[in-house]
């Protein structure tokens, strides 16, 4: 796989030479502009909120900046950025939320249902809808109201005509079921 890359790659050792500085910076910025949406989308699916997604996205590019130079082929750069994003997202979950005694594989998207772990997140909304459609009716409804429409737990409970406590239970079951769902396609 990718046997031809070795010839076409022009990654250079930083500090190796100084020429073409202007072109270099401009190249890097073009790479950044080309990649930033996809990298951000990849991260956003894995953290679900803008604040964390922006922090992690910034870390990815700041880390990559000194390591990549102009001229690298775009597929390798993209792969490198996503691999870096994956690592930082895994670190984010372990550093901020993981119980000390726990060892789970967050490295390989082990936290996500298989159907939602795609690298290309452009059709993420479709994938989520497919996943929700496979849930029992009330569970799907709770997740739609809560996470797609931003209802509070009280509003959701009222919409479903159940108690708040009951609504939390349904939400929990729905997420647990969704979390362990196999890929449908």
């Amino acid at each position: 796989m990718f046997m031809e890359e070795r010839e076409s790659l022009q990654l250079r050792v930083v500090g190796d030479s100084a020429p073409e500085l202007a072109a270099d910076s401009a190249d890097w910025e073009a790479t950044y502009r080309r990649e930033v949406d996809r990298v951000y989308g990849f991260i956003f699916v894995r953290v679900g909120n803008r604040a964390d997604a922006e922090d992690i996205c910034a870390q990815v590019f700041l880390r990559a900046r000194p390591r990549l130079r102009a001229g690298a082929d775009s597929r390798s750069v993209h792969g490198y950025l996503l691999a870096t994003a994956r690592t930082i997202v895994a670190d984010h979950w372990t550093a901020h939320y993981q119980a000390r005694t726990l060892q789970i594989d967050v490295e390989d998207d082990g936290l996500l249902p298989a159907g939602l772990a795609a690298e290309d997140t452009s059709d993420h909304a479709v994938r989520v809808q497919e996943l929700l459609d496979r849930l029992p009716d009330r569970e799907r409804r709770v997740l739609e109201l809560r996470f797609l429409r931003g209802y509070s737990i009280k509003e959701t409970a009222a919409a479903l005509n159940v108690t708040v406590a009951n609504c939390k239970v349904i939400q929990f079951r729905a997420l647990r079921r969704a979390a362990t769902m196999e890929e449908s396609r």
Partner: protein, 227 residues
Amino acid sequence: MSRHLDNFLDALARGRRPRRRRALDGDAMRIAATAAAVRAARSEAATPTPEFVDGLASRLRDVAASEGLDHPAHDRRRFLAAAAFAGAAALGGAGIERLLTGARASDPTPESRSAAALVPDAGSWQRVAALEVVRTQEVVRFEQSGVTGYVLLTETGVAALSAVCTHLGCLLAFKAADRRLHCPCHASTAFGLDGSVSTSVYQLAALPRLGARINGLDVEVLLPKNT
């Protein structure tokens, strides 16, 4: 359902950053991550704002300027680059002065591709993990002073390796199943815990070693000074 998970889900539903330092057990973490992925299907935040994109572009320009990335690199950056591309240097004789190999970096013969050692010009011994953790887990990842690596337990003490693949600079991941460091970018590539290339379709250099030692209850690695 735990209150921490409850609060996490509430924050997500409101589009806020969930509070940190709230431990979740394995099931709860999977549930939290699934909720995050479902929440991400709401269209309004799935793309970065223009302000964020421009702001980060400007930070990247500042970093490049202040750290001299587009000029002959200063020592710290040179060290980081060496960690990333030691392989390229060992093969091509690119002349990183502080890359000390079994043979010489300027000697491009395959025999010289044994484990190289990376020594920062202005380094200091820095704690990267508790000795007890290394004793228990045997292989522990660290990230400090811009260097990502692994410390490991050896028969005689501890050792440290760069976690940066010598092919394209991807960050390697340790898999307990076969006790090797795997490259996420090219599935064929993996390194043994002695740093040697275990499998790869490419002609690669071994992972560079970093200085490592036990100091009291800590494991320390020789890293560039924080600037």
